[in-house]
């Protein structure tokens, strides 16, 4: 059996970066989606990202509401939550932390192939846009950095591989340059402005498509 490959689409990658760019001085988190039918195959495409919080990531009530609504949204659209992402407040911090690990483990308990992503903030502002995502697998209840990161030369053939769609970092950098992060709405912001669409972020998608 060949190893499974997980590819993060430009759209999903851009939304993660835009979310981090929208709230520069706080931690942010969200989830990654893939089509339900692709999850059992050897080639999984992470089609979208849904931004959740940018305040108090360690408090649970609104996270619970968000996950319940996400489950309904996924059910109606034939998608599933395939991953959890987080960008930390501190520039150099690449830890999931206690709360982040708990949320990721919750995602994993529903979808056994789920993974976690931490954003390497220092790679968000490089001159040449490069991959800023650090992928994590769970082993015995512990989240650890996955061996096969995007673009890595050495591959561990016994483990699954993570990739980015071509040009994803460049597309994301251009989106930040176009100030698209001002259009991005997470669940936190949606609660203040309920007319804003946190599930799809159509305004961002339309601009990314151009």
């Amino acid at each position: 059996m060949s190893t499974a490959v997980y590819t993060v689409s430009r759209r999903a990658y851009a939304k993660i970066v835009l979310h981090a760019a929208a709230y520069t001085s706080s931690s942010v988190n969200g989830v990654l989606l893939a089509s339900k039918s692709s999850v059992a195959t050897n080639s999984v495409v992470v089609t979208d990202a849904v931004p959740l919080l940018h305040t108090r990531l360690t408090l649970s009530p609104m996270l619970e509401v968000a996950f319940e609504q996400l489950d309904i949204y996924c059910e109606k659209t034939g998608q599933t939550i395939i991953g959890y992402y987080q960008a930390n407040e501190l520039l150099t911090s690449r830890d999931l932390g206690t709360a982040g690990a708990k949320i990721a483990t919750r995602v994993h308990s529903v979808e056994p192939t789920a993974f976690a992503v931490v954003v390497d903030n220092q790679k968000l502002a490089t001159v040449e846009p490069e991959n800023a995502l650090v992928f994590h697998n769970i082993h015995d209840g512990q989240w650890r950095v996955a061996p096969n990161q995007p673009g890595a030369r050495k591959q561990d053939s016994s483990s699954r591989r993570f990739e980015l769609e071509t040009e994803a970092p460049a597309v994301a950098a251009a989106a930040v340059g176009a100030r698209l992060h001002r259009e991005l709405v997470d669940f936190d912001a949606h609660l203040t402005t309920p007319s804003a669409d946190w599930l799809r972020n159509d305004a961002v998608l339309a601009a990314l498509a151009n």
Binding site: S25, S60, E68, L91, G97, S195
Partner: protein, 298 residues
């Protein structure tokens, strides 16, 4: 978006200053525009507050040259100000030169050990180094001296939350609530901490306090709904330990059902004006919320 006039830009920035918020990249954009247009000179004495605001926004967005020019202007006007020296320290902090910044703050404190802002920056450095426990210890000592400093209590609350120390975080919010009992945001924070600690009945009370103070608070109505649904589900099974404070504060089922129905009404009304789905495979937020409200009630 229509272009804003200089006066409009200045007014918007003044409003951000007053509220102590405003997205940093927007502040930088507006501020740079005002400077380019030569309008900064017309701000009168407000210009110093404007430079300080722009300086901090430039730090958030890593516009070092802009930050330096704001700092230079402030330094020229207030050459011996410790407030300006503190800003210099913040520029070093933002660039990652934490040792240099720390020395600057120590220098300020050697001249004036009661300089509260320099002490706060020293605590911020500990936080910036990821030394949460030390930052907590330093803030606790700070609050011994400045007991009425609400910003410090709330910062301590957030530090405790980042360390998942919920009981301590709750204590901090309650301190601030004593000083500001009418602030819905504080009761909201209290409610969310209580819920996270699994004290659902107590959380419900706090959420109710929020909607009492701020009747259109969507986030709090979600909280009311969440708590009421959960308590209704567990009320038959004995839920919380009998005899505990939590168990004693669970409202009667009839009351819970009323609260649940009220929250459902309020939330439905909030979403009634948002777009409905045009295709079943492309649900909108509203269709999802309607399905959620129904599922939670059954």
């Amino acid at each position: 978006m229509a272009r804003l006039s200089n006066a409009q830009l200045a007014a918007q920035l003044a409003e951000f200053r007053q509220r102590c918020d405003g997205p940093p990249d927007l502040v930088v954009q507006y501020g740079q525009e005002l400077i380019t247009n030569g309008y900064a000179d017309q701000l009168g004495d407000e210009v110093w507050g404007f430079y300080e605001q722009l300086f901090v926004a430039a730090l958030h967005t890593a516009h070092w040259a802009l930050a330096q020019s704001c700092l230079d202007a402030l330094h020229e006007r207030f050459p011996s100000s410790t407030r300006v020296r503190r800003l210099d320290g913040m520029l070093h902090e933002a660039k990652g030169n934490l040792d240099v910044a720390g020395q600057l703050y120590r220098g300020i404190l050697e001249e004036d050990e009661t300089n509260m802002l320099a002490t706060k920056r020293q605590i911020a450095i500990l936080k910036g180094r990821g030394r949460t426990q030390e930052a907590i210890t330093a803030l606790v000592a700070f609050l011994d001296t400045y007991h009425a400093d609400q910003e410090a209590w709330l910062e301590l609350c957030d530090l405790y939350l980042s360390a998942c120390m919920y009981a301590q975080a709750l204590f901090c919010v309650e301190e601030v609530i004593l000083m500001q009992p009418q602030n819905p945001g504080l009761h909201l924070k209290c409610a969310e901490i209580l819920y996270t600690q699994d004290q659902v009945a107590m959380a419900l009370k706090s959420y109710c306090r929020v909607v009492e103070l701020s009747p259109t608070h969507t986030r709090a109505w979600y909280g009311v709904k969440l708590c009421a649904t959960r308590l209704l589900r567990t009320s038959g099974t004995g839920g919380a330990n009998r005899g505990s404070a939590e168990a004693a504060s669970v409202p009667k089922s009839a009351m819970l059902r009323d609260l649940d129905a009220l929250a459902t009404d309020r939330l439905s009304a909030v979403y009634a004006s948002t777009p409905a789905a045009t295709r079943t495979d492309q649900p909108t937020v509203r269709t999802v919320v309607e399905a959620w409200l129904q599922a939670a009630s059954t």
